[in-house]
Amino acid sequence: MSDSDDLKQNEGATKTITRRNFILGVIAGGAVVSAASYRFLAPSRRQLSGAGERLITLYINGKPRRVDVMKQETLAWTLRYKLGLTGTKLGCDRAECGSCTVLIDDVPYYSCSVLTHTVRNRQVTTIEGLAAADGKLHPVQQAVVDEQGFQCAFCMTGFIMSAVGFLKTNPNPTRAEMAQGVSGNLCRCQDYSKILDSLMRAAEYTRRA
């Protein structure tokens, strides 16, 4: 790979900053660091444009969907930009916020970190697939509405999917267990208390349903 070419170029540049310069720099305070020192931020150069899409069948919310998918495409991207299922949110795209959580064969996954091509034969459930055809809300959704759970709600659909998945494995959780169950979801409004109120009600509704 041409990675190594870049590194060679960088070598010459970065050698100019020795430990001694570091220390001098600190003492002088905010000395100008040479432009070359920032070249390290340059990425490797290999281009591989025009990687083609392939038409595949996905099973989303119980229905087969034919869709053109790039090799490197994530499930979140396919859902949002190819299938119009924008209820799945991208909060970080790095598996550390949970807004993109969907169920794959009933198990919660970060869809930002799943390649679409790896779920070809699996059942994917998104927030759009929870309510009944007649619009009747899923018990977890109904509980959230009844408890006025969440604030800005950008995290909400991910939390709901996590809770739905978790309740399949533990239908009668304590509040602490529920917190553990949805701990892979971040709420920046920090409405964790009200979220847990609504999800405990969700557990109750789910058991009754």
Binding site: V33, L41, S49, E96, L137, V145, Q148, A153, R188
Partner: protein, 838 residues
């Protein structure tokens, strides 16, 4: 004390909603089902025919000049549609504010793209292409030559002799003489002698450009039983809204359509017009849902301008998706403050004198008011008999700061509360008692005397009652009496006072009663998520005496012609917009009565409004809202919006005119008086359990007890009290920046490195409560609660930690395992309080 007479009995919270049908009762807000089903559309969820994607190039350097951009190869790549460079963005513009005053362009404010980036991560170039992959490959084909310039990322270092300045013009913001509210940059360096205090772990105190004082400081210290001189630093903390500030833009028939998340629908329009140098009437702004703001999405921003300009240039819709890393850089942050406070205490803990010295970090663009607010909140919340404030606001090559929930107030409380805790221990006074004796009450005064020699004061304050009720609910005395250590675990309890501004006034309301008999309420408040934009209209519905389900709330799209509303920020909404909602409710009822009188005879005063009808008092003739609406259209003029209430704002007038003839159109402005400034207050309580062998601690319990006036929507208020408390806790338990000062570069732009709290980092069962005592100075008695809990959320934790571990563990937040482990063994704070961003 004005307003409600307080007896022992009144300590019991009034059951929320007493005397009201809607106010104080829980309900599900109008936007909730859409949110829970994924139907709600945030900016990135919109699509437009032929939509291009746009990605940014950010400056890799903290301060540099862009010398040359060569995009030839990129522009030749298939799928690349165009680029936007710094020379294509509009410059700073003068503008005329609502009062007709010309505001001169601020040459220090940021532009959409920078040719001299002032911080690492500042956008310098944008590329549009058919998809993001093409954008990325094009960007990697662009050559940018940059000349590095001197930089400084550390405010204290910037004051050292011989250190680099963040900007060519200087390193410190100096306010112009009044009445100007602008500041200028100047060079300020302290001497080595002034820096000597640093060696003793004390904040050096050289010249400070900003200062005020009141009372006899010297006498206060002389008469004090205890004088403490403490140094404490707070951390820069990014807003990190979960929805990145993605924006989609397109142009149609000369109008700009912009989709993004915002805290204000209406007030963003003039801001965009200003950034874009275009007339306001050509801006259509759509923002139905917003994934968090916390002060960082108040109005316009460069993220709106870039796609707008690119869309115009390329004649196609442009979606600029902002990544989490980009959000870290351009998403704003709360400034960290390094503080030194000398506080004198009487034997009972009463503060006799308070001398506060602050070094505030303004980041790379413009000054900020956090240092000033820090002093204001200190003087209000702790009522020192004498106080002096000195402040240096330093420019650094770090990302621009903006208001973040309780700007300045959060830092004030984080800085002062540990001093109070230490004093209580030294004086042998109970922590709650010490806070009670210092707590404001009634029309408490704050800040320095104004030009007329009088000090400002608040509308009302019942914080002592909240403190007492909270201490009772939290079982404070029992918790204090319990043993502290068992095994390797040590627990501690903490109490903190907290407050912030709780409302503004002077906004408008707009109602259309349709010929179908529906009550359409229009609002220009941003849907930030706090639900205040819905909740305030419970007051309107209450006055109109209509069931909630007959209300259609219209929000989030300026093409729907909305009234002039406050932005959902600064905790002002509940106060400001229940006032406007109250005013327009009364106006609407009056117009209904007039329509009825004109149609059915008699005087308007003979009629009353109830159950979607306007009818003669005591029975008799009446008409339904639907009939009244049709009658209003027939009457025209003021009744159907062909004439407009002259008191309302120009934007409201414009919107009323647009609704003319749609039904009974009522608009009104809030010109209710209020004697004093609105502030909300809380008493916050926490318990922590620390493992002294690992330095790990866990918050086991938390209670926020609020004095926020009338409770409008209990569930939403609870969410605010605890949500904002946790935002404060985040400052105590770990949220931070990490910058390598050698390169002036951030190394912690990911959540796993800058550490916003997870659900397992806070107590599993937190509690809140509210006094529910109406504010006597506002019609519904309600004040806001977005900012007030933040400082208390932070300080209750640090106070509990100090209770557990002693006063010699930390001089800065956040406090983590590393802080505790090293300092607990050494018996003194081992982390340099001035060293930021580690």
């Amino acid at each position: 004390m004005a307003g409600v007479e307080l007896t022992k009995e009144s300590l019991k919270p009034i059951p929320f909603g007493t005397g009201y049908k809607l106010i104080g009762h829980d309900f599900s807000t109008n936007d909730l089902v859409a949110k829970a089903t994924g139907a709600s559309k945030y900016a990135e969820d919109f699509r437009a025919e032929g939509m291009l994607f746009c990605r940014l190039v950010l400056s890799p350097m903290p301060h540099a000049r862009v010398k040359r951009i060569n995009a030839e190869k990129a522009l030749a790549m298939p799928g690349v549609r165009g680029i936007l460079t710094p020379d294509e963005v509009p410059g700073h513009a003068n503008y005329v504010n609502d009062n007709g005053t010309m505001i001169k362009a601020d040459r220090f404010s940021e532009l959409a793209l920078a040719d001299e980036p002032m911080y690492q991560g500042e956008p310098i170039l944008a590329v549009a292409a058919v998809d993001e992959l093409t954008c990325a490959e094009a960007i990697e084909a662009i050559e940018i030559e940059m000349e590095p310039l001197p930089f400084n990322t550390d405010p204290l270092d910037s004051l050292r002799p011989g250190s680099a300045n963040a900007r060519e013009e200087g390193n410190v913001w100096v306010p112009n003489p009044p009445p100007s509210r602008e500041s200028q940059l100047a060079v300020l360096k302290w001497t080595d002698e002034e820096f000597a205090a640093e060696k003793e772990g004390k904040l050096p105190m050289g010249h400070a450009p900003e200062e005020w004082s009141y009372g006899d400081l010297d006498a206060g210290f002389k008469n004090a039983a205890l004088v403490l001189d403490e140094t404490f630093s707070t951390e820069d903390v990014s807003h990190q809204c979960l929805e990145p500030r993605t924006t989609m833009a397109f142009w149609q028939n000369g109008k700009l359509y912009l989709y993004t998340g915002t805290q204000s629908t209406m007030q963003t329009v003039p801001a965009i017009a200003r950034w874009m140098h275009m007339p306001e009437e050509n801006v259509v702004f759509i923002s139905e849902y917003t994934g968090g703001g916390f002060g960082s999405k108040i109005t316009g921003a460069l993220t709106l301008v870039i796609p707008a300009l690119l869309s115009k240039k390329l004649n196609a819709p442009v979606m600029m998706r902002i990544s989490r890393e980009e959000e870290h850089f351009i998403g704003r942050a709360r400034p960290g403050i390094r503080a030194r406070t000398k506080v004198g205490f009487a034997k009972d803990g009463r503060i006799t004198a308070l001398d506060m010295f602050l070094v505030s970090d303004a980041g790379s663009y413009g000054s900020n008011g956090d240092g000033a607010a820090c002093a204001q909140i200190t003087s209000l919340l702790y009522q020192p008999a004498a106080m002096r404030w000195r402040n240096v606001t330093v420019a650094t090559n770090t990302l621009p700061r903006s208001a973040q929930s309780a700007p300045g107030g959060m830092q004030a409380i984080a800085i002062i509360e540990p001093v109070l805790s230490k004093a209580a221990r030294k004086l042998g006074v109970d922590q709650v008692a010490l806070r009670r004796v210092n707590s404001p009450e009634g029309k408490a005064e704050y800040g320095p005397p104004g030009p007329g020699g009088k000090r400002s004061y608040v509308t009302s304050c019942y914080l002592k009652q909240a403190l007492d009720a909270g201490a009772k609910q939290f079982n404070w005395n029992a918790r204090v009496a319990r043993s502290k250590q068992s095994g390797t675990k040590v627990r501690g309890v903490g109490v903190a006072l907290s407050c912030y501004h709780g409302g503004t006034s002077g906004f408008d309301g707009l109602i259309v009663i349709t010929p179908q008999g529906r009550v359409k309420i229009y609002t220009g408040i941003g849907n930030l998520g706090t639900e205040a934009f819905v909740d305030v209209h419970r007051a309107t519905a209450e006055i109109l005496n209509v069931p909630w389900d007959t209300i259609d709330l219209v929000w989030g799209d300026t093409s729907k012609n909305l009234p002039y509303s406050c932005h959902s920020g600064g905790s002002q909404t509940i106060h400001a917009m229940t006032r406007a909602g109250h005013a327009v409710g009364l106006e609407c009822a009056q117009r209904l009565k007039e329509v009825a009188a004109k149609s059915l005879g008699g005087e308007p005063a003979d009629y009353e409004v109830a159950n979607l009808r306007v009818s003669r008092k005591g029975g008799g003739a009446g008409m339904s809202f639907a009939e009244a609406s049709k009658a209003a259209i027939k009457l025209g003029g003021i009744y159907d919006g062909h004439d407009v209430n002259p008191a309302v704002n120009k934007y409201t007038k414009h919107s009323v005119a647009a609704h003319a003839g749609e039904g009974l159109v009522a608009s009104a402005t809030d010109n209710y008086p209020h004697d004093g400034d609105s502030f909300s207050f809380l008493a916050c309580f926490a318990e922590v359990e620390t493992d002294v062998e690992t330095g790990k601690y866990h918050i086991t319990d938390y209670l926020g007890y609020a004095d926020v006036g009338t409770v409008i929507h209990p569930a939403a208020l609870g969410g605010q009290v605890l949500g904002r408390s946790v935002l404060g806790m985040a400052h105590a338990i770990g949220q931070k920046w990490v910058i390598d000062p050698q390169y002036g570069v951030t190394v912690a732009q990911r959540f796993y490195t800058n550490k916003p709290p997870s659900i397992l980092d806070v107590p599993v069962d937190m509690k809140w409560n509210a006094l529910n005592i109406p504010d006597p100075e506002t019609p519904v008695g309600a004040r806001g609660c977005g900012e007030p809990p933040v400082g208390g959320g932070c300080a209750a934790i640090t106070n509990a930690l100090a209770d557990a571990l002693g006063d010699n563990i930390f001089q800065r937040v956040p406090v983590n395992a590393d802080t505790i482990l090293t300092s607990y063994e050494a018996g003194r704070p081992m982390q340099n309080p001035f060293l930021a961003h580690i």
